[in-house]
Each structure stands twice: as C-alpha cells, then as structure tokens.
C-alpha cells in the first residue's frame, strides 16, 4: 500500500528549528532546516542523525526546500550541508536566496565572535552551502527529477516567503512554511489554488488566536509609541532586520510625517539600508499598492528613520529605536534593553512572537527580575508591551487556507501543543478530514491510494463518449476494453484493437436455438407475427423485418421454418453471437412463451 510518511525533526508541537521529513512515493524531501533560538546547545539544531545512521544524507534525501529566510527555518542549513554533509539540491525563492546568507553570517558572527563558540560553521561554509541552492520562481513547476516536482506559492509573511507543493504522480503534499492570510503594509496575502493535496502541513503559531483588525492594532501601537515619546521616554522595538521592521518603519514614517513629530527614529545595524535595498529590488514580491506606486515613490526610502550608533543610546531625550534581534536573545537589542530597562519612563514593545528561553519570552510572561550572564540580576522597570505584528496566519487564516487548498488531511507544526489540540479539533469538525500533530521524532503515516494513469485509445474513448455525455445514475453504462501492459507502458484499447495488435484472430462463438411455436400459418406470416410482437415489446431496440423474410433484433437473426413433421408447428431459428448473449438468451425465453393471439 503506498503511503506518505511525515516526521518532524523540529517544530513538532514546538516553535523553532523547523525541519520536517516527508516521504512520498519513494521520494524523501526535507522541509526547512532551522535553528532554535531558545537553546544554545545541541538542541538548537535538528537531529540529522535521525535521517540516516550510516549512509550519506545526499543518498537518502532527494531535495531540501527552504520556505523563507527566518533563521528558525534556515539557520541550520550550513551546518547540515557542510558539516553533516549534503550535496543535493536546496530549493528556495530568489529573495530568500539573496537574504538568507546575510542572516546566516549575522548569526554566525554573534555565535562565534560575541559568544566565542567553537566548532560553528564558517563564512566559507555559508558560501559553499549557498552554491547548492537552486532558485525557484513563484508557480514555476520545478522538476527535481523525472517524477518529483515542486511548486512555490506566495506566502506573505516576509519578503520571498513561499509555500511549497511537493508532488509525485497524483500524490502531493503542501507545506506552508510561515504564512499570512491578510495583506499588510508591505506584503500581500498568501494564496494557493484548489490543488487538493493528500496532506497539508501548516504552521499553527496562532492556532487559538483570532486577531482583531489590523487597523486597531496599528492605532494602538502608534498611540503607545506617541505617549512614551511625549513623556520623554525611550522606546525600544526589538525586530528582525527584515520583515516586520519594514512594516513598522512604514507605519512610523507616515505617522511622524502626519503628526510632524521631531523625536528621532533610529534603526540599528548596518543592515537597514541594505535590507531596504532588497525590498526595492524585489518589489515584485511586495503588495499591490507598493508595486503600483514604486516608480513615483519608493516606500522603502525613509526620511525620518536614520542609522543608529551605539553611542546614541545614552543621549538624553526621547527616541525610538528599532534594534535586532527580535526576541531579545542576543546582540544590540539586548544591549539597549539592559541600558533602558531600569527607567519606568521607557518602553519596550515586542512586535512578534518570542520563543521560550529568550529574554523576550521571559518579560512577556511577566518576569521582572532577570538573571543575566555573570549572575547579575536586571530589574525591569520599563513598560513592557506586546503587539502581535508577526505575520502569521491566525486561526481564521489557517482555516481559510485549509478551505482554499482542500486537502485530504492536515498536519500541524510550528505551534504549541495545547493550542494545536484545539485547532486540530476545529479542523476535524469543520472539514471532516484527519488532522495530525506529531511531536519531534514522531512519524505520521498516511496510506494513499493513487489512481493509475493509463493511455486510452481515442477511438474507444470517443465511441464511449458518443453514447451520451451524462452518465445515467440508474443504468450506469459500462466501458469495455482491454488493458495492454507492456513494461511500464499501460494502454487501454478496444478489444478488437487489442486482438489486432497482438496478431490474434477472433474466435466467434455463435448459438442457434430452435424455438418451436404452435402456428398453423405460413412461415412468412409467422415471421410477420414474430416481428410485430418483438417490435411492441422491444421498444428501445432496433427490430427489423428483412426482405428475405427473416427478422433481426439488433444483430440477432430470427428465421421461421416449417417443421419437418408437424405442419401445425413452426420452428424459429434464433441465432446470435456470444457478444449478444444476454439479448439472445432473453429472446429465446420470450419467444418460448409464444406469440400473443394475433388480431391480424
């Protein structure tokens, strides 16, 4: 029995280090290759030894697909390909291919240069890894090999994020990566056609949340920032360099312009300008409005937002700073946070989800005394705000996507177990499909029953179609043919053609039955009576009286003859071939009952 097997190596009932193994029709595909931001030890990368104990990964995996450039989806890639060893193709979209190596390098620098980790991947490894990447266009059907094909769909979320359809023959799996079903200020909404996959693997970060309207959240955000700045406080917004940052920058930029505010807005790290450049060059991946107006006004050229310098953090007076990374787990955002945390006038706004173990997660869950490195305790007096700006689909969005794709079953990843449980029930109830939520290392097996494609001869098909386009529910018509199987070539042809092709002669099997009738009249008259009787009974059939005196019903021949001994009896010879067996048999039994008394 063919089956699809799915095993999450990461992101199973968890958010972080997304990595999912899929086996479909004998092909093995790895979806994403992320790192976990909550860990600094072995657990930060997926356990690749699960894939194969002794063999080479390249022999086992047909391809690797990266959904987008966030590190929890691609952070382990150089480790996987260069340190564990994988030489097969890695697929991602053009913007992901452009931005991914930059974030990897950033990540490497923090890990090696700042934290002094040894045995981490090197810059050269990132470069070598990226050489194995094959860029894909949206909606392009990429033939990985003769049987395996993949296709990318727009996912919103961040620049270049894609959902992927993996297809072998008539079996398919769709993996959403992270996606967003509502367009935001710079990206469009995810979209997929009704591709009816056997399985939809979807993220479920916001499995239980239904977010209020985007406008309210935006107004809220602006109000909070404005208030803090008005009272002279400093506002820290930890973000990832690409993605939410651009959306919030556009938001603040227009607000500052409208309100004529003077407090400076800074963006940390040199990435900003570069990042905005990527948005400019990949503008076809942004939303409709930005694309339409980019010639007149490029939304990614900001007037009010300037580059941040470390020294600015100690400047007096209000300011707004966007700093990376987004979960306050390392780097500049954490440095600034430590500086500003003690002052209750200041504010930190977390605009996205924070993984367990990060400082961001701790302060969001209400912790106000943080143990920092070196046993220092940091007291958090500043205002802590959370605003869900991360571009994940909420429960409504996830249901919407399931409805769009119409999968046969659904599998949840990239979410918390409790919330998944709730969504799982909801999906099973509403769509009446099975929904799975395996933990890491747990395998889900789905039996599939793919239909078998064969070639049908056009002659046979047309003959069949000519008999009426609409199938009659009461009397389903049967198509007869012969399936010729030669090697892997399967053809369905008419029986006549099959005989001819194989050089075989038809063997005709014919029956002739003698039916005795009591009828003193002449043979010719008997024939006429038989004719009119059959004509009245068999209304749907072609009954003919031929000039030679015989009667035909379709291709069945009936002749009347005198009985050699009894002149009061006539013998009807009913003759048919095996192909007309049922009608022939019916006719003999009908005639045996005799003819109705003729009124002649």
């Amino acid at each position: 029995m063919p089956e699809i097997r799915v095993t999450p190596l990461g992101a199973g009932q968890d958010v972080g280090r997304s990595c999912i193994l899929v086996s479909i029709a004998g092909k093995n595909v790895m979806l994403d290759c992320g790192m976990h931001m909550g860990f600094n030890d072995d657990r930060r990368f997926p356990d690749f030894s699960y894939i194969t104990r002794n063999g080479r990964l390249t022999d086992f995996l047909d391809c690797v697909i990266i959904s987008h450039f966030h590190l929890d989806h691609c952070g382990a890639l150089p480790y996987f390909s260069e340190m564990v060893g994988y030489d097969g193709p890695i697929y991602m979209t053009h913007p992901t291919q452009a931005i991914c190596p930059i974030l990897l390098e950033d990540y490497r620098k923090i890990a090696v240069d700042k934290k002094g980790e040894a045995n981490f991947f090197t810059s050269q490894m990132i470069k070598d890894c990226m050489k194995k990447v094959v860029a894909v266009h949206l909606h392009q059907t990429v033939q990985v090999d003769d049987e395996l094909e993949i296709k990318a769909y727009y996912a919103g979320h961040v620049l270049g994020a894609a959902m992927f359809q993996i297809k072998v023959g008539s079996e398919s799996v769709v993996y959403t990566g992270d996606y967003n079903m509502t367009p935001d200020r710079h990206l469009g909404a995810a979209w997929i056609d009704k591709c009816r996959p056997n399985l939809l693997i979807t993220e479920s970060t916001y499995a239980t949340t239904i977010r209020d309207s985007k406008r309210c959240r935006e107004r809220d955000f602006l109000k909070k920032v404005h208030e803090a700045v008005e009272r002279g406080g400093k506002v820290l917004i930890p973000v990832f360099a690409l993605g939410r940052a651009q959306e919030l920058c556009i938001l603040l930029e227009t607000f500052w312009e409208r309100m004529n505010l003077k407090a400076p807005i800074y963006f940390s790290t040199g990435l900003t300008e570069k990042a905005n450049h990527y948005y400019k060059l990949f503008i076809t991946w942004t939303n409709q409005k930005i694309r339409k107006t980019f010639v007149q006004r490029n939304m990614f050229e900001f007037k009010h937002i300037k580059a941040f310098d470390r020294a600015f953090a100690d400047n007096p007076g209000p300011m707004v700073v966007f700093a990376t990374p987004g979960m306050l787990h390392a780097g500049q955002s954490l440095q600034i946070f430590r500086k500003w945390a003690g002052n209750e006038k200041n504010m930190v706004i977390m605009p996205g989800y924070c993984v367990q173990g990060t400082v961001g997660h701790k302060i969001l869950s209400g912790q106000r005394k943080l143990e920092m490195e070196g046993r220092q305790v940091l007291e958090v007096k500043m205002q802590v705000e959370y605003m869900s700006f991360s571009a994940h689909a909420d429960a409504k969005g996830i249901m919407q996507l399931v409805g769009q794709a119409e999968p046969e079953s659904v599998l949840l990843v990239h979410g918390e177990a409790k919330k998944m449980e709730f969504l799982k029930q909801k999906i099973e109830q509403e769509f009446r499909v099975n929904c799975y939520m395996p933990a890491n290392g747990e395998t889900v097996t789905l039996p599939t029953s793919p239909s078998i494609p064969v070639g049908i001869s056009l002659g046979l098909l047309k003959r069949e179609m000519a008999q009426g386009l609409l199938p009659d529910v009461k009397k389903p018509r049967l198509l007869h043919g012969t399936l010729i199987m030669k090697d892997s070539n399967f053809r369905l042809v008419s029986s006549e053609q099959a005989l001819k092709e194989l050089g075989l002669a038809e063997h005709q099997l014919r029956f002739t039955c003698r039916v005795h009738l009591h009828d003193p009249r002449k043979e010719q008259e008997t024939a006429v009576r038989v004719y009119s009787h059959l004509k009245s009974v068999l209304k749907d059939h072609c009954v003919q009286h031929l000039p030679d005196g015989s009667v035909t019903v379709e291709s069945i021949l009936i002749q009347a003859a005198a009985h050699s001994e009894d002149p009061g009896t006539k013998v009807l010879l009913v003759s048919w071939t095996y192909q007309d067996e049922e009608l022939g048999s019916y006719l003999t039994s009908l005639l045996k009952k005799g003819l109705p008394q003729a009124s002649s």
């Binding site: 291919q97 452009a98 860029a135 266009h137 392009q140 059907t141 450049h277 060059l281 990949f282 503008i283 076809t284 010639v295 239909s451 494609p453 070639g455 049908i456 001869s457 002659g459 069949e464 179609m465 386009l469 199938p471 389903p476 049967l478 198509l479 007869h480 043919g481 012969t482 399936l483 199987m485 030669k486 053809r491 369905l492 029986s495 006549e496 099959a498 005989l499 194989l502 002669a505 038809e506 063997h507 005709q508 099997l509 014919r510 029956f511 002739t512 039955c513 003698r514 039916v515 009974v537 209304k539 379709e554 095996y578 192909q579 007309d580 009608l583 048999s585 019916y586 005639l591 045996k592």
Partner: protein
C-alpha cells in the same frame, strides 16, 4: 491564438506628426494624378518623389475576418512586442477568453502601448484621410501606396482606456508554470532569451507536444538565457520571429554604433538614436557605460526622452528573477542589475517625459538623444529630425530592425544629416536555427513561408533559409494548415479499487492483458474509470415490475473471444461433465461434435464455434461455459 502583434510598418505611408507645426511639412505640395486631377491633394502630399498620406497614422491589424474571435479561448503572448494589437482584439471583437503573459511582458508591454498612445494623442490632428483607401482610387496611386494590403482594415491608435481594459484580461504566469486549459491541454511558457520576460510556449496534451518558438535569442544579453532543453520531443515546432537582418552580427553592430557615435560627438555633432523605450536600449546604455570613459565622452550628456522613460528604467531594475545570471548575482549584493542606475546617479544619463519642461532648460549640445518612435512618424524623434536634419555634423543611428531606415527617412528628404544603419537584432539567425533544430529534434517544423526560401534581395544566399529534415511546412497569411499528427491516445485514470480487481494474464513474454469493464466518468475533460456498481438486489415485491425492466441493454457487450478449441480435449471435457453418445465428424474446415441425445450439434472450426440446439437454456449455458473454458476473453 499565438501572439497578437501589430504591423506598424503601415505608418510609414503617413506623414510624420510634428510636435510643433513644421513649416516644411505643412508646405509640401499636394499630389495629383498624371492627368492633373488634384482631387486627392488634401489627403496626399508629395516629398522628394514619395507620396504620403496626410492624416493620423494608422496600423495594420492581425487578420480578423477569417475567424470568429469570440471562439478564441486563449491568447498566448511571447514577448512585449507581440502584444501591441491586443486592445483591438480584446475590446471590439467579442473575445471573452483569457490572455496569458509573463509579468515583465505585461509591464513593459503596457509602457510601449502607453508611449504609443501618448505620442499620437498629444498632437491631435484634425484630418483623417479616407478617400485614398477606396479600392478604385488606390489602384491609381504610386507605389508603395498602391500595393499596401488590406488598407480598409487599417485602424487608428487605441485609447489608454482600451489599453487598460485589454491588460486587465491578462493572467500573469511564470516560466515553467504549467497552466491547465480546460483539462484538455497544458501550456507552459519557457524563457526565450530575447527580452525581459519573453517566452516560448509549449502546448501539450499527455501524448502530443507542440512548441511555439517565437522571438528567441541565444546571445547573452540581459534576459534569462533561452530554455532549449524543454523544447525536446516536440511533435511539431512552430518557428517564427527570427532575426530580420540575418546578415548583420549584433556584436559588430554595437561596435559600429559606439564608434559612429563617438566620431560624431567628437566633431561637435549630435547623435539621434530612434528607439523603443525598452529592450535593446538597456544593452546600448550598458555598452556606453563601459565605453564612454575610454572614448573620452564623459562630458557628453545622454538624454532619454519618452513619456515612459523613467518607468522603463525603474522597471528594468526590479525584474531580477527574469535576468541573466550575472545580473541576478548583482541583485543579491544588493545592487541594481543594470548600470544605467549609475549613469543616472552620476548625471551622465538624464531622462525626460518629453521635450517640453525641464528638458529645454537642461539641453546642451553636442549630445546623444535616445527617443521614439523608431518609425520616425510620431514621438519626439520627429522634432529632432527636423531640428538636426539640416546639418551634416549630426548623425542619426538606426538600431531597431523593425522599419526600413530608407523608408523611415523618406519624408525628411532632402537630408544633410549622416545616416548610419546599425540594426541590432538579437533573435535567432539561420545558423542558430539549424543548430537549435539539431539539438531539439522536432518531428515537424512549421514556419512562415518567407523562411523557407532565401530573401528576395539575396536569392543566391541558400544559407539564409531554414534547412531541416523533413522539410519545414510553411504557411502564409490567411492560410489553414493541418498539423501532421494524429491523436491516438488520451490519458485516463483507473481508480485503485478497479485496478485491484483486474486480472492480468501474460499473453506473450513481457505483455500482459486484462479485460476492463468499468464506468467512465468524465469531468472537465478528465477521464476516470470506476469499478462497475454491484448488481442491485431486487427490491421486494412492493413495486410492480415492468416488463421492460427485464430487457437487457444491448449496449452492454460481452468481451471478444480468441483462441481455438482442441476437439479431443473438448470431447473429453464433455464426457467428464456427463454427456454421452458423442459423435465427432470431420469437415473440410474442422469438426462437428454431435450430441445425439440432445439433438445438439457443435461446429468447431479454427476461428469459430457454432452451437445449434433446441430451446433448452440450461443445456445451452452448460455447453457455452465449457466452450469458454478453452477460449481467452478480451
């Protein structure tokens, strides 16, 4: 419908549309017949021995009489030059289908249309000549007006509203995207290497494949290289859009372009380059970017004047995914893929929507001006021709191959300006075509008639035609061509439940057969075979049975039989089943088996068996089943 191009050479028969009233043009003498009859002198003007129509220029549309365009389901566009007639087709013919094109094709196509509309609409011309189009009058006119085809169908330019409406009917597609059309065929655009987003198309069913190769290039310029591999295994390859100048080498032409440009400017003259706002101009600007410093031209201003100049330059930078590998890598840095960004930044290249406004104050001579339209009949180029035509210091350099430069220049004669013809056409030449065909190996090639013989002007050049085996099938305007393949198979899916129930038997080594009786379901041109329904149990006696319910459906046929019956074994079998008194007689062709007791006779021959018996159904069925044991069913 494959492509939807507009024949703009028709405009060459018209007088140029000047931006400002040109005394020279307005004072041209009217044309009169040989007998002095001057009734056409309002419509036709004479200039240096050529006659031109003094009217709003008109375009020659694709053939629309031959087919009912409302029956066209789909239009496939191969590149932005091949969609210029789209508004005529989609807006006024009853067309209700879908148009497929790539995103750059649509965006740049929109720019080309916008420019065209703008050029024509900004100089409203009161006069619209129609008298000359009368068939009887056209006969009397001098060439080329006399020989112009289908003048009655020539149309004036569309409006922006029509353009927008036409473009809204386009569905965007990406390279290698498989698009299902009505479940019957699949179409796929492939990179053709000629222009941003330019595509060849594959049209295929499960068993047949037609490739449409139009406007392709094997040269490395800015677009993504041509995808040749996917064209393999075509039953038919339709080949069109080859280079218009098969004898000119594009690289050589670019060199000549640069050196002529430098020469003119050094001598204090101006250079005019009539061009489209997108396409080759990107490559020319890139060449100049590398060339100007070494040629000492750094101080010469380059002007690009077009209502869509800015958009074209901006758009070129955002289609990273559609560019050649080198340019893609630049985007990853991230840097703009085309160096004209730098030319603009350093103020070496300036662009303006038109002559009016900023340009007139910035204008410095000597300079180089890129502007349209390459036909020289409308657009800012008309003004520069009038302005610079009188001085031999200046040069006009023709790079676009669509128009004969001599004809383009005709209404400006006599001209003192130097004219250089450097047509740059990167599309396939005949050497490349034969290489391509060898590589791709289509069963049949179909192409326009012109490609199957040397050009009329160079009839000895047997190398300037398509040479392939079997010879290419050619077509001409309004001709119907039957493609040489016969469809024999179609795909059908067998449901797994049905497949499980099939009983294959090996007939010959490696060949197995299974008879199939199944219910055919067809939806959206997709066929599926499902297992036959189980015979329904007779439903109690409540319903009265109608006599007709018993009548078998004659359309349900039994399978065919094959094989032969060995008489001896057959008789043994009969005996085993309790028949006695069996007699066998030999006949000319076989045997007769007599069951005397039952008055039954079985004729057995090589290819047939005939059972003749009394009306005893039980007996007949028994005999039938015994016979069937020896035969194979199909």
């Amino acid at each position: 419908m494959l492509d939807c191009g507009l024949d703009m050479t028709s405009t060459l028969n018209f007088l140029p549309l000047p931006l400002v009233q040109s005394p020279r043009l307005s004072n041209l003498p009217g044309w009169s017949l040989k007998d002095g009859n001057a009734f056409l002198d309002k419509e036709l003007k004479e200039c240096s021995g050529h006659v031109f129509v003094d009217s709003v220029p008109e375009f020659c549309l694709p053939e629309t009489e031959l087919i009912d365009l409302s029956t066209v389901d789909v239009i496939l566009i191969s590149n932005y030059h091949c969609m210029m007639a789209l508004p005529y087709i989609t807006e006024h013919t009853g067309f209700t289908g879908t148009v497929y094109a790539t995103e750059p094709t649509v965006q740049i196509g929109r720019l080309l249309m916008e420019e065209l509309v703008n050029f024509i609409e900004r100089v409203p011309k009161a006069q619209s000549a129609s008298l000359w189009k009368n068939k009887d009058i056209q006969r009397l006119l001098p060439s080329p007006l006399k020989d112009a085809v289908e003048v009655s169908t020539w149309r004036r330019c569309y409006t922006m509203q029509e353009v927008n409406s036409a473009l809204s009917k386009i569905q965007l597609v990406g390279y290698s995207q498989k698009i299902e059309l009505f479940g019957a065929v699949q179409v796929t655009p492939l990179s053709s290497g000629y222009a941003l987003g330019s595509s060849n198309w594959i049209i295929q069913s499960h068993y047949e494949k037609v490739s449409y190769v139009s406007g392709s290039s094997l040269l490395t310029t800015h677009p993504q290289p041509m995808d040749q591999a996917s064209l393999k295994n075509s039953d038919v390859l339709i080949l069109t859009g080859l280079t218009q100048i098969p004898t000119a080498n594009p690289d050589g032409m670019v060199g000549e372009f640069c050196s002529n440009l430098a020469l003119t400017v050094r001598n204090g003259g101006n250079v005019l380059v009539p061009c489209y706002p997108s396409g080759v101009i990107y490559d020319l600007l890139e060449c100049l970017y590398q060339y100007i410093d070494s040629a000492g031209l750094s101080n010469i201003p380059f002007y690009f004047i077009s209502p869509v100049a800015n958009s074209s330059l901006e758009f070129s930078q955002i289609f990273a995914e559609w560019l050649c590998h080198n340019k893609q890598t630049k985007v990853y840095l991230p840097e703009p893929p085309f160096p004209h960004a730098e030319l603009i930044q350093t103020n070496k290249l300036k662009h303006y929507p038109s002559l009016h406004g900023d340009f007139s104050s910035d204008f410095r001579q000597p300079c180089v001006v890129f502007t349209g339209h390459p036909s020289l009949r409308f657009g800012d180029v008309v003004h520069f021709m009038e302005l610079w035509g009188k001085s031999s210091l200046n040069t006009v350099i023709f790079t676009e191959p669509d128009f004969s430069y001599l004809e383009a220049l005709a209404p400006y004669q006599p001209l003192a300006m130097k004219c250089i013809y450097c047509p740059i056409d990167t599309r396939l030449n005949f050497i490349q075509v034969s290489k391509l065909l060898k590589e791709v190996q289509p069963l049949h090639v179909v192409c326009p008639e012109q490609y199957t013989q040397p050009p009329p002007a160079q009839s000895h050049r047997m190398d300037l035609m398509i040479d392939c085996q079997p010879p290419a099938m050619s077509y001409r305007r309004a001709e119907v061509l039957a493609l040489p393949f016969k469809r024999r198979y179609e795909k059908i899916e067998i449901m797994p439940e049905l497949a499980d129930a099939l009983v294959p038997m090996e007939i010959k080594p490696g060949i197995s057969l299974a008879t199939v009786s199944a219910v055919l379901h067809t939806k959206d041109n997709k066929h599926v075979l499902q297992p036959p329904p189980r015979p329904t149990q007779p439903t109690g006696g409540k319903k009265r049975k109608r006599a007709s319910d018993d009548i078998p459906d004659c359309k349900v046929l039994k399978p065919l039989l094959s094989g032969s019956i060995p008489v001896e074994q057959f008789v043994q079998t009969l005996e085993k089943h309790g028949f006695s008194d069996i007699k066998v007689e030999d006949t000319a062709k076989g045997h007769i088996v007599l069951l005397q007791e039952a008055e039954t006779l079985i004729q057995i021959e090589e290819d047939s068996t005939h059972i003749i018996c009394d009306n005893d159904e039980v007996l007949r069925v028994r005999l039938r089943d015994l016979v069937l044991k020896f035969l194979q069913k199909f």
